[in-house]
């Protein structure tokens, strides 16, 4: 009887505990990635679009948040933005959700920020 109770408890509590940790980590990463995307979008507006310094800032900010920039896909549209035109920066990464007995998957984390071009060409 005790063994049965233990098995039932473990199969319920362990996934719950892992889920709390896994989703907490995923959501924390997502917020950090959002903040990085916003900063990079603002810089993209300031320098007029997709520039090496924008990607460098994004990579640095992601790295500081514990996200490997090499595993992140980045799109900046349009690549060259005019004055007062919108520039959209999209960052996509994946986080592994590994919850014993329940789930093993990669959850996509997408962040989008739209800023405004500030370069009067």
């Amino acid at each position: 009887m005790v063994a049965l109770e233990t098995v039932l408890t473990v199969t319920i509590l362990v996934p719950l505990l892992f889920a709390v940790i896994a989703f907490g980590d995923a959501f924390q990463r997502w917020l950090a990635q959002d903040a990085a995307a916003i900063q990079a979008a603002r810089l993209a507006g300031e320098v007029g679009g997709d520039a090496p310094e924008v990607r460098a800032l994004l990579a640095d900010t992601l790295r500081l948040s514990g996200i490997d920039p090499d595993r992140v896909s980045v799109e900046i549209e349009p690549a060259r933005v005019g004055w007062r035109e919108p520039v959209r920066l999209m960052v996509t990464s994946g986080v592994v959700l590994d919850i014993p007995f329940v789930l093993h998957t990669v959850m996509p984390l997408r962040s989008t920020a739209v800023a405004r071009g500030e370069v009067n060409r």
Binding site: R88, V114, R116
Partner: protein, 137 residues
């Protein structure tokens, strides 16, 4: 219980994203100045279309959350309380805050879908209040 916990965390995540959207909208709106006023007085004044710009960029930045929202981003942005403070020293009647420089403020209620809350006899839609202001320096 797990579904409720994840829903609560998701709600907080969407709320943070909505606040970031409003924040970026006010930054964009205050970042453009009134050229005519600058030439005439040398003072920085927000662009005449600052309110429209703030609404437009609030909607654009909410677009990524559209699936989680109970109304369209355009509707939410249209219903937002956007205020442009063109002079230094103006007081925001909503918050009572005094701005030392020209500022743009966005206050909005963002309805977020929370279907898992229904299992706990909680509302299927949760309203999140968002307030963001950016000041020119």
């Amino acid at each position: 219980m797990l579904a409720g916990s994840i829903e609560l965390a998701s709600l907080r995540l969407v709320a943070a994203k909505a606040r970031a959207a409003a924040d970026l909208a006010t930054i964009v709106a205050i970042g453009d100045q009134d050229d005519a006023a600058f030439q005439a007085t040398g003072a920085y004044r927000p662009s005449p279309d600052a309110e429209a710009v703030a609404r437009a960029y609030f909607a654009r930045n909410l677009d990524a959350l559209a699936a989680a929202l109970d109304r369209s981003p355009d509707d939410i942005a249209a219903g937002a309380d956007v205020a442009v403070f063109r002079e230094a020293g103006m007081v925001d009647p909503r918050s009572g805050r005094r701005y030392d420089h020209p500022a743009v403020r966005v206050a909005a209620t963002v309805p977020v879908r929370t279907p898992a809350f229904a299992a706990f006899v909680l509302p299927r839609v949760t309203s999140v209040d968002v307030l963001a202001a950016s000041v020119a320096r």
